[in-house]
Amino acid sequence: MAEAIIFNLQHPDLLMHNDSAGIPHSHADNAALFESIFKTHFKGLHGYACSIVKDETTAEEMVQNVFYKLWERKSQVQIEQSVAAYLYRAVYNESLNYLRHNKVRATYQQQSMSTNTEGTETDPATLRELQQRIDSTINELPEQCRTIFQMSRFEDLKYKNIADKLGISVKTVENQMGKALRILRTKLMDYLPTLLLLFINMKKMIL
């Protein structure tokens, strides 16, 4: 079951009610709950933001901004979905807005090109191109599809965990993962024959 909470952010105190408990918490409990939510989701959200903005410090700023807006908002905010789903979506939007408003696309592409390429046997130039292609394809995936792919691929979460976190069905996770891989495969089609050949050769060598 997904965590379902309602944030009640009436200035200056932050109050949060846990739906599953059904009983409003005290201010201290709420602050502790906020801290726990922050710490639980920070790493995943930070990695997610990093994959979009390509900079650790900026990524942290994106995540901090999302939490800060929640904290700061004076009117009542009700999140009628899972907390993780809300946070991932908010970080996604915050990061895209950052890229859009700060015109960092050039830097982004440059940094994207210089990402670590260790531990691979393929020709570095091909690999760099492949990496760029994967990167841009992931960036083009629809938001939910991207989030699910990110959670599965980079956070190594199982379908069930993703579904629970995002408050969606396992079937949806299945569909979105199929969709993500289908899109990636199509976009990487030019590179696949070479890679496949390398892959088969490597397998033969191992055997």
């Binding site: 200056p12 801290e35 922050f38 710490k39 639980t40 920070f42 790493k43 930070h46 990695g47 990093c50 994959s51 390509k54 650790e56 990524a59 942290e60 995540v63 901090q64 939490f67 800060y68 807006k69 904290w71 009117s75 979905q81 809300y86 979506r89 908010a90 996604y92 939007n93 990402t115 390429t117 691979t120 690999l127 492949l130 994967i134 990167d135 992931i138 629809p142 938001e143 939910q144 792919f149 599965s152 691929r153 980079f154 199982k158 379908y159 969606i168 069905s169 949806t172 299945e174 569909n175 993962m177 199929g178 969709k179 891989l181 990636l184 990487l188 696949l192 890679l195 496949l196 892959f199």
Partner: protein
């Protein structure tokens, strides 16, 4: 064989029966094997772009706490006086606004023959909501708007249900007393089908909608909220009320916090805010004011939009219209 099942198998998520099905498929012919290998390779290679967070959550929390503590500095005496000045100005605004409102109400009553009383109630409320107010005032007004809306949606089956809608709004045509004018119309059923909508507000038939734009105006660091609502009749011209930069003063900033689009007959509402995807309230606002042109990436902002269809907000370059679906 679906890619979904192949990926499920690849990730070790498949059941025993599904595993058997996939293995049969892979061993059936070389093309199937190639297809699976390509997916496997794609999955394997996609790991190279993984970014792992190296920042400690505890350290990040400490930084977050510092940030919130900075914000909680008590208001100085000077600021209090500043606030009083603003409050006095606001009172002046509200007073003059109420005066105008009452005057207009009188003329509305004079014009209205009583046959369309529901509409006049809505108009009164909406006109009233156009005044600059503080938060408390807005809250009062919101209650008033809600109360009025409730009387209009007595037969509502699910007033809080968020649905997908398809609405076309052309770009502004002219200025009118600080407000810009837009034309709202509704896509025909055939058009709706072309965009593969999962459902359409009002079931694809014309119906009145209410668009509310909530803006925050910050002057010298002090925020005030303005909520302006407008009802738009189908296929008819209507004014979309909101505050423009030229009306708020040089030292003030303005942001669009939330835009809600509600069908009055059912209460179904679309909410766009800073976190809606793919378009935030500010984005949507920029499009309807014509400030921004070009494509919005389609995405999701309503519940349970999880299939392969393009869901969300689209900008159709062919027609120059916004299509909300």
């Amino acid at each position: 064989m679906s890619d979904e099942l192949l990926v499920k198998y690849l990730l070790g998520e498949a059941s025993a029966i599904e595993k058997e099905q996939v293995q049969l498929y892979i061993n059936k012919n070389i093309d199937n094997k190639k297809h699976y290998d390509e997916l496997a390779l794609t999955w394997g290679k996609s790991k190279i772009v993984a970014v792992e967070s190296t920042i400690s959550a505890d350290a990040a929390w400490e930084r977050f706490k510092q940030r919130t503590e900075k914000k909680a500095v008590p208001i100085s005496l000077l600021n209090r006086y500043k606030w009083l000045k603003i409050a006095a100005l606001l009172l002046l605004f509200i007073g003059s606004g109420t005066f105008m409102f009452l005057n207009r109400q009188k003329s509305d009553i004079a014009k209205n023959d009583g046959s369309n009383s529901t509409k006049s109630i809505v108009n009164k409320t909406l006109e009233f909501s156009n005044q600059i107010t503080n938060n408390e005032q807005v809250n009062k007004e919101n209650k008033k708007i809600n109360a009025t809306t409730e009387t209009l949606v007595n037969d509502s089956k699910s007033p809080d249900k968020r649905q997908i809608a398809e609405i076309k709004i052309s770009r502004p045509k002219l200025k009118n007393n600080g407000y810009k004018k837009i034309i709202a119309s509704y896509a025909k059923k055939a058009e709706a089908a072309a965009y593969k909508t999962k459902g359409v507000i009002c079931n694809g038939t014309p119906c009145p909608i209410e668009i509310c734009i909530t803006q925050t105006i910050k002057c010298n660091g002090q925020p005030s909220t303005v909520s302006s609502c407008s009802t738009l009749e189908p296929d008819q011209e209507g004014k979309l009320h909101y505050k423009t930069h030229d009306k708020i003063g040089r030292h003030c900033t303005m942001s669009v916090d939330e835009i809600t689009i509600k069908t009055l007959s059912t209460g179904e509402t679309i909410v766009l805010n800073a976190n809606s995807t793919p378009s935030t309230a500010q984005d949507f606002f920029n499009y309807i004011t014509g400030k921004k042109k070009g494509g919005i990436v389609a995405g999701v902002f309503h519940d349970n939009c999880n299939d392969d269809q393009d869901c969300g907000l689209k900008f159709d370059n062919n027609f120059g219209d916004l299509i909300l679906q």
